[in-house]
């Protein structure tokens, strides 16, 4: 995040001092309160389930209820915090600015930058095609454009929060790291294959006409406002999936026997990784719904690599997006895109199954 130094005051006018201090204090107080509540969640869920409801601690029902009462507020609180922070962070990036950074970049560095910018640039998934045209006509190499287009949906802040909340920071970091790696390597590979002539002709004939949209200058008040809007829009939309997902997870947690998934999705079943990817591609679900199910599957003996591969295939590759991309890409390039990304996800799946 940009520090509020004198150098960039021309882009964001400094707040009057009292306002700044008020923001800082409100922010700190809010964060303190957040942590105080967060730390009480685990004891509360036990108190609620076993004392208040008086359920036998050994029972399936107790296990399921404790899981649900603990995880629902925990995940929702994490979600609000992260979505807010990401909303503020994204106010520093626009697709226009990202395009300017990436235009004329060499591959390799370009792929890395594009994958990183894919995480922080705000863009709505239905903008994928206009964005593709905008990037390619401005001289962003094809492979670099793909690195961006792969990383943007694949690395999803909601999935990251849920993985952290439900499975811990190690799994969350693995997901972030390998997601970036797939975006970088897959984009680089597509670039190497020199498939520029598989872009639809009308796109290639199009000349970059850079629109003169004035750079927006935002104040901190506006940036915080954008964070709030993000929370309202995203959390307002996904909370129901989170709750449903956790409920399904709680059911599996309490009632499905330990080791049940081991035979189908365990390490021993080598075919389960490609199968998970193949099943995942046409499925389109938001990350919020899929992660709690992932957690429950893991708890019952499914292998981490297989489950991560399934999750990545579901959120990164989707049939509707592919159909839209057909408007600017010829079938061969679409096939290569699906093939390269699918293979990358599969390799990640196998890798985890071997090392963990």
């Amino acid at each position: 995040m940009q520090p509020d130094t004198p150098e960039n005051t021309h882009s964001a006018p400094p707040l009057a001092n009292p306002t700044k201090i008020r923001y800082l204090l409100t922010g700190l107080a809010g964060l303190g309160l957040w942590f105080a509540i967060y730390r009480q969640l685990a004891p509360f869920s036990r108190f609620f389930t076993y004392q208040l409801l008086g359920i036998n601690p050994e029972s399936h029902l107790g296990e399921a209820i404790e899981f649900f009462v603990y995880d629902t507020p925990k995940v929702l609180m994490l979600l609000v915090l992260v979505v807010y922070a990401v909303g503020v962070l994204r106010s520093f990036f626009t697709p226009e600015r990202t395009r300017k950074i990436l235009a004329g970049r060499r591959e390799s560095t370009g792929n890395v930058l594009a994958a990183l910018l894919g995480i922080v640039t705000p863009f709505c998934s239905c903008s994928a095609v206009p964005l593709f045209i905008g990037f390619v006509t401005a001289g962003v190499p094809l492979g670099v454009t793909f690195s961006f287009l792969i990383s943007a949906p694949m690395i999803n802040e909601i999935a990251l929060v849920l993985l952290y909340g439900l499975l811990g920071w190690k799994v969350a970091t693995l997901y972030l790291g390998t997601g970036l790696l797939i975006a970088i390597v897959a984009g680089w590979t597509i670039g190497r294959l020199k498939m520029e002539h598989h872009i639809e002709d009308w796109v290639r004939e199009m000349h970059a006409n850079a629109s003169d949209v004035p750079d927006q200058r935002l104040t901190w008040t506006e940036r915080f406002g954008l964070g709030k809007t993000a929370v309202r829009e995203i959390v307002g939309k996904v909370w129901i999936y989170v709750v449903l997902g956790i409920a399904v997870g709680a059911g599996i947690h309490g009632y499905v026997p330990e080791g049940f998934m081991a035979s189908i999705m365990g390490k021993g079943a080598w075919w389960s990784v490609p199968a998970a990817v193949l099943v995942g591609i046409p499925m389109y679900s938001n990350a919020a719904g899929i992660v709690p199910v992932v957690e429950a599957l893991l708890g019952k003996g499914a292998a981490l690599g297989t489950v991560l591969a399934f999750m990545m295939a579901v959120i990164a590759l989707s049939l509707p997006e592919t159909v839209i991309l057909r408007k600017v890409l010829k079938p061969r390039l679409i096939a290569v895109f699906l093939g390269v990304v699918g293979t990358g996800i599969m390799l990640v799946g196998y890798l985890f199954n071997i090392i963990i």
Partner: protein, 77 residues
Amino acid sequence: MEIKVLGPGCAKCGEAEKIMKAAVEEAGVAATIEKVSDFQQIAKFGVFSTPAVVIDGQIKCVGKVPSKAEALGWLAG
């Protein structure tokens, strides 16, 4: 006044169109509102993040749903 709302047709683009309609009605100006969802047309404007609003050939905003206050400002200007 000729207003164009550019967007392939997701929820956000629909929202942008609705806001422009409401703003035109509130301002009481004579204006036509057209939804442009063809990718080639959108690209011709040099716009690549949607939704975007174009008034009389001038791009007013890209990549976000405008607020009604913003929209009223453009109509008055």
